[in-house]
């Protein structure tokens, strides 16, 4: 039953994919009017004007491009022509640096807020004001203060991944069942042992959910941040290929961003399942 269900779902997925590819192929068919012009002028005008061919690449071209990238992901031919693998590695490294920094800050502060109603009240106005700020709005300030574009991107990732983790940790810690804390009290468990053996495992599923939201946001923001700071990374790659008018590369990059984002999310989902306990 479940087997055939999965099979049917997969079948529908494949059909939808084929339909999409077909629609794509049809949409970029040569259909525009072909003008007669001077051959010298035609060279300047490109294929869309001379042959009526769409500037948008077809699925086959994109597929071929992806294959190229997969065969040689780590080439390096100067600052404006690096392999997709290298660009991704830069982006992932920045995301990880900013994200782990945010974990190191958000979880202890979240614990503090969750355990102390006073600190929760006191910090609440700051969190409420800082949370809705678009992370990119910090960019000029970061560039001015840090004076390093790569580090500024890391800072932007840090600031955008901070809030979901902070809020989820505080919520998870604050909403621990009183009876578990009472168990710890009747067993005369000390503060640190209680934090690690009762509070942390009890709040872990909520904390991990916050971490999962954060990694998603971080991966969204890194593309925009790298478009601004330039130099390396998948966001810069997208912008650079746009300037090169290589729509094929842009589409390739979009797909790759999606796949990496999904992989990051799945890693966190796996970890969340690991710490979730049935009740």
């Amino acid at each position: 039953m479940t087997n055939s269900f999965a099979l049917r779902a997969a079948l529908v997925s494949v059909l939808l994919f084929l339909a999409f590819i077909l629609a794509w192929q049809l949409a970029i068919r040569a259909s525009g009017p072909v003008q007669q012009m001077d051959p010298e002028y035609a060279k300047l005008m490109g294929a869309s004007a001379t042959q009526g061919k769409s500037a948008m690449p077809g699925p086959l071209e994109v597929g071929a491009k992806i294959w190229d990238h997969l065969r040689d992901p780590f080439y390096d031919r100067g600052s404006n022509d690096k392999g997709l693998g290298i660009q991704l590695a830069y982006s992932i490294a920045r995301v990880m640096a900013g994200y782990l920094l945010a974990v190191a800050v958000a979880i202890p502060i979240g614990f503090l807020i969750g355990m102390s109603p006073l600190m929760s009240r006191a910090l609440d106005p700051f969190i409420q004001v800082l949370k809705p700020i678009s992370p990119l709005a910090w960019m000029p300030l970061a560039l001015y203060t840090i004076k390093d574009s790569a580090l500024s991107a890391v800072f932007v990732i840090f600031i955008c991944s901070l809030w979901p983790m902070l809020i989820n940790t505080a919520f998870g810690v604050a909403s621990i069942r009183g009876e578990w804390l009472n168990v710890a009290r009747t067993l005369e468990v000390g503060v640190f042992r209680r934090a690690f053996t009762i509070v942390l495992p009890a709040a872990a599923p909520t904390i991990l959910t916050g971490m999962r939201i954060s990694i998603g946001i971080a991966w969204l923001v890194i593309v925009a941040a790298e478009m601004l700071v330039g130099g390396t990374g998948i966001g810069y790659f997208v912008w650079n290929e746009w300037n090169n008018l290589s729509i094929t590369n842009v589409i390739t990059a979009i797909l790759v961003i999606g796949v990496v984002g999904m992989a990051l999310d799945q890693v966190l989902a796996r970890l969340t399942r690991l710490v979730t306990f049935p009740e």
């Binding site: 069942r177 009876e179 578990w180 009472n182 168990v183 009290r185 009747t186 067993l187 005369e188 468990v189 053996t197 009762i198 495992p201 009890a202 872990a204 710490v275 306990f277 049935p278 009740e279």
Partner: protein, 313 residues
């Protein structure tokens, strides 16, 4: 002195603040003494403050006035000497059965090596009949098994007192019966002192040596101490056929149904420090002389600071 006053509740009062600055008094000036190795049940309507009394004994709550002395020491907070069995079992769901019991053992004996902790925990898991289920998570256990783990966890730290807050109320009748047997067996074997809250009159009669009747709140009091006249070696299958069973049962139910509400009316000369002790169903000399008591009458408390009844022949 200390034999009769192993646990001594001395004039405890608990008030809670209510809206606009007022406060409500759950109970006021409660006095009670319990002996070592005694099984005490407390019975009363919901909201009378039974759980608050238990929480104060556990150290999880503080009285607004008064004090509780256990084994000559004033209670100053939760302690490993007093184990609590929670109504909702309060097991840690991310730990296995063994993990839950071992957590308590490791909390008591912090320097023990892991192997010793686990061996000690297993001993108590065996005692409650859960051998073989050590690796299971609480979610995989039935309600009765979860409560067994709770009992094993409480016993494993070898406490001076066990405090039980309606431990069996969430269980089906059959499981409840088995667990009552187990608890009674274990308590008799180990001489454990127990203070238990219950709503179940039969449970109280089966398990308890003495049953405290508590009036309705607010301003609840311990109205009477019912000294259980049933023999110590009673069994669950036939204790309700004992000649004195209905006397005790009717006395408690009469209290719960009528007297618990209007107790203030009876309380003119009521001495909170000497809660009357009654032995319902025990023939009293006055019956022989032709006077018929309407109900069981209080045994006159002996003259002492705190009333504790002497051994009745």
């Amino acid at each position: 002195m200390s034999a009769d006053h192993f646990i001594s509740i001395e004039g405890i009062t608990r008030r809670f603040p209510v809206g606009d600055g007022g406060e409500t008094t759950v109970f006021e000036d409660l006095w009670l003494a319990m002996r070592r190795g005694e099984f005490t049940c407390i019975i009363g309507h919901s909201g009378c403050g039974k759980t608050t009394v238990l929480n104060i004994l556990a150290g999880l709550d503080q009285p607004s006035a008064g004090t509780v002395i256990v084994d000559n020491q004033e209670i100053a907070g939760p302690s490993l000497d007093r184990a609590v069995i929670f109504q909702s079992h309060a097991l840690l769901p991310w730990r296995s059965v063994l993990g839950n019991v071992a957590y308590a053992v490791a909390s008591k004996w912090r320097r023990w090596p892991r192997a010793e902790i686990e061996a000690h925990a297993r001993k108590f898991i065996d005692l409650v009949g859960l051998a073989g289920a050590e690796a299971k998570r609480p979610a995989e256990l039935s309600g009765g098994m979860k409560q067994r783990v709770g009992i094993a966890r409480a016993l494993a730290i070898e406490p001076k007192i066990m405090l039980m807050d309606e431990p069996f109320s969430a269980l089906d009748a059959l499981t409840r019966g088995t667990l009552q047997d187990e608890v009674r067996r274990i308590c008799l074997e180990t001489g454990q002192t127990v203070f238990m809250i219950t709503h179940d009159v039969d449970e109280a009669i089966y398990l308890a040596d003495r049953i405290i009747l508590m009036t309705n709140g607010p301003n609840a009091v311990f109205a009477e101490i019912v000294d259980n006249p049933l023999p110590k070696d009673r069994s669950r299958t036939d204790f309700h056929r004992h000649a004195l069973y209905y006397g005790v049962r009717n006395h408690i139910i009469d209290f719960l149904v009528t007297r618990s509400r209007g107790f203030a009316a009876e309380a003119d000369a009521f001495d909170r420090r000497r809660v009357p002790i009654v032995r319902p169903g025990v023939p009293e000399p006055m019956i022989a002389s032709g006077r018929k008591p309407a109900r069981a009458r209080p045994v006159t408390p002996p003259r002492s600071d705190l009333h504790v009844e002497g051994e009745t022949p």
